[in-house]
């Protein structure tokens, strides 16, 4: 007997609203579907009304975890449009923050995965150690979450000698801890029993469905913007793209821990090679008409910003493709043939950032369940229509 159960928009396993519709037979999922649009914030529209420099801080607020990845992605594109080249020291500090952010994001995800698998001790340990990298980020940028270190043409804060030493010390502790987590994550029997074989995604499927980030890497697809399209300085440092052939949630866990170890490597190289000089150049306010696509390897996968400039100090259009959106199609495939008990785990394994990926709203008729996409002009027309046809209510008492 098949029946449909909805998970979300409100569900304890979901930190943000999304609707997963499952068609199940007993405990086994036969089909799945996703509905987005519960957390639309109109970021793209807002970006058209702000100047380039203001948009950095808007983009930073697209995501609360990979905030630096969105602002960096935007800044990379905007700098091309504005035709400025940030100084090397600025670039190095910018991507130092990037890699530290990747560490904090992956450690956060590890804890969440532990919690979803009911392994709370793992959660407490990883989140305790995440504080080390959060403190480093605070020392570098002054903030724990929205670092606000990017600016057009470089970064806003410099790193001095004592701080460099502190970062080295913090990285040494973190590396030791991460190696321990790699051991735990791949050998603790209950944890492995819970993760192995769950949410399978073959290499072919991962490529067909355009999976990205650790989801693709765990299926054996070595997809990494840092290697494929080495922007700014990634061709100057040595690191490996971590992949795994496990194709399941366990593989995604292992990939993330190993990726963190690679990030430590990159951070140490950055600190050792850190060139002297200024950290930023002055940027013009207006960009010549043109368009640019900016790619960036966020902790969750490839982040794409597309910017059109029209010659004014505001962009004509900003299109944001958050990595989570790229992974949704693969998630549906992973959910199929799984157990209901595995849904939170599978869904959490793509490290979803739901509100980052919300770009549209779908209207559902509450009575018939019919779904329609409206244009803004349609909505305005409907509102006017309703205002005109509603009977005028006189002598209405103010409810308060």
């Amino acid at each position: 007997m098949k029946f449909n159960i909805p998970i979300g928009p409100q569900h304890p396993a979901l930190k943000e609203p999304i609707s997963i519709r499952l068609s199940v037979e007993g405990e086994v999922i036969r089909d799945a579907d996703l509905r987005l649009g519960y957390n639309h914030r109109g970021v793209e529209k807002l970006a058209e009304e702000k100047s380039y420099i203001q948009n950095i801080y808007l983009c930073e607020r697209i995501c609360g975890i990979c905030s630096h990845s969105h602002s960096t992605c935007f800044v990379q594109g905007a700098e091309k449009l504005l035709e400025i080249e940030p100084p090397r020291r600025g670039v190095y500090i910018r991507y130092l923050v990037s890699e530290l952010e990747r560490v904090h994001s992956h450690l956060l995800w590890l804890g969440v995965a532990g919690h979803e698998a009911g392994f709370d001790t793992f959660f407490m340990y990883t989140w305790r150690d995440r504080e080390i990298v959060m403190d480093l980020l605070e020392m570098i940028s002054g903030n724990r979450v929205h670092y606000a270190i990017n600016t057009l043409g470089g970064v806003r804060r410099d790193i001095d000698g004592p701080l460099k030493q502190k970062i080295f010390d913090g990285l040494a502790v973190l590396r030791e801890r991460s190696e321990y987590y790699l051991k735990i994550g791949s050998s603790e029997p209950t944890f492995v029993a819970r993760l192995a074989g769950v949410g399978r995604l073959t290499k072919q499927q991962a490529m067909d469905l355009c999976a990205t980030g650790p989801t693709a890497k765990a299926s054996g697809v070595a997809l990494d913007v840092r290697k494929d399209d080495p922007h700014d300085f990634y061709d100057e440092v040595e690191f490996d793209v971590v992949t795994s052939d496990l194709c399941d949630v366990l593989g995604r866990t292992v990939v993330r821990i190993k990726e963190v170890l690679e990030s430590y490597k990159i951070c140490e190289q950055i600190l050792r090679k850190l060139p002297d000089g200024p950290i930023a150049v002055k940027s013009p306010r207006r960009a010549k008409p043109g368009e640019v696509v900016s790619r960036y390897e966020a902790p969750r996968g490839e982040n794409i910003h597309y910017i059109i400039a029209n010659g004014t100090e505001k962009p004509e259009r900003l299109k944001v493709r958050a990595p989570t959106l790229g992974n949704y199609a693969a998630t549906i495939e992973m959910l199929r043939h799984g157990f209901i008990a595995d849904v939170p785990l599978i869904f959490a394994a793509i490290d979803p950032c739901i509100c980052c990926a919300e770009r549209s709203v779908e209207m559902v008729d509450a009575r018939s369940g019919e779904e329609r996409t409206y244009r803004f002009s349609d909505l305005r027309r409907m509102a006017n229509e309703r205002a005109r046809t509603l009977p005028l209510q006189r002598n209405v008492a103010w409810p308060l």
């Binding site: 304890p12 698998a117 009911g118 793992f122 603790e188 209950t190 819970r194 008990a341 939170p344």
Partner: protein, 323 residues
Amino acid sequence: MAALNTILYLVVFPGILFLFVYSTFVEWFDRKVFARLQNRMGPTHTGKSGLLQPIADFVKLMAKEDIVPDKADKKMFSALPVVGLAIVITAGLLLPVWNIDLASPGPISFPGDLIVILYLLSLPTLVLFLAGWSSTNAFSIIGGTRVLTMLFGYEVPLFLAVLSPAVLAGSWRMAEIAAFYRAHPLLLLVNLIGFVVALISVQAKLERTPFDIPHAETEIVGGTFTEYSGKKLAFFRLMADIEMVVAAGLLATVFMGGFGGGILSAFVQFIAKTLLVVFLLTVLRAVTGRIRVDQVVSFAWKWLAPLAVLQLLIVILIKGFVL
């Protein structure tokens, strides 16, 4: 005098009052050890080192609004917490917490009390299932069915594991079993496999990680307890705590030689041995993750049940050839 003794026995020791105070202490101990293993502080503020925190939680829950869902079976929904609490307290009364004179044992020790306490410990599982079922909430119903599914896994290994020391001692009476092992302490080592099996089964019975599947919060919210609030939830939580004390006491009686000596010595032994069992259960809780319900059943029948049978075989061989 006999009547007064009975009342003291029912109400004070090891009756309701003692079980209440001790189970809250055990909950504090469990929480504190769990927290320290996770590198957290655990309860700190209420009382010295947060000792009164479980009692504060209980009082707070008692004062909270008590909601009964419209569609729930109201009588059953309301009766179940009290019934569950009564069952575990009754089971607690059967524990031989002092050195019972086997010649004139009184009402609490009788041949076969081991079987009775095992059955009384099975009943809360049924209560939890009914609680989930009568809430009519989708999460509660899934939780309720998971409770029953797990029961099929761990119950048989638990019974087999607990009965094998009894076979070796040649008695179904807990006080006699304990006395037997106090007389032959080396024979306790024979039952080590059974102790491990019983420990894991008790962990499953108490629905603690890795077996906290019926109320896996990331999957089914509160599971069986989703609709419970206020006094009823407080009673259920107290029930779980007392069940832990009773189960730990049972394991200490059967596998650790019980609580001999005078009243004071027996009392100290009871505290020490139950806390040891609870400590082991807490460590197990801290170092594992939650597994799936089908994995529980297959684990129980692939590993626990064969190990329990092996234990029984060892016991029978030793009884036949050595003793």
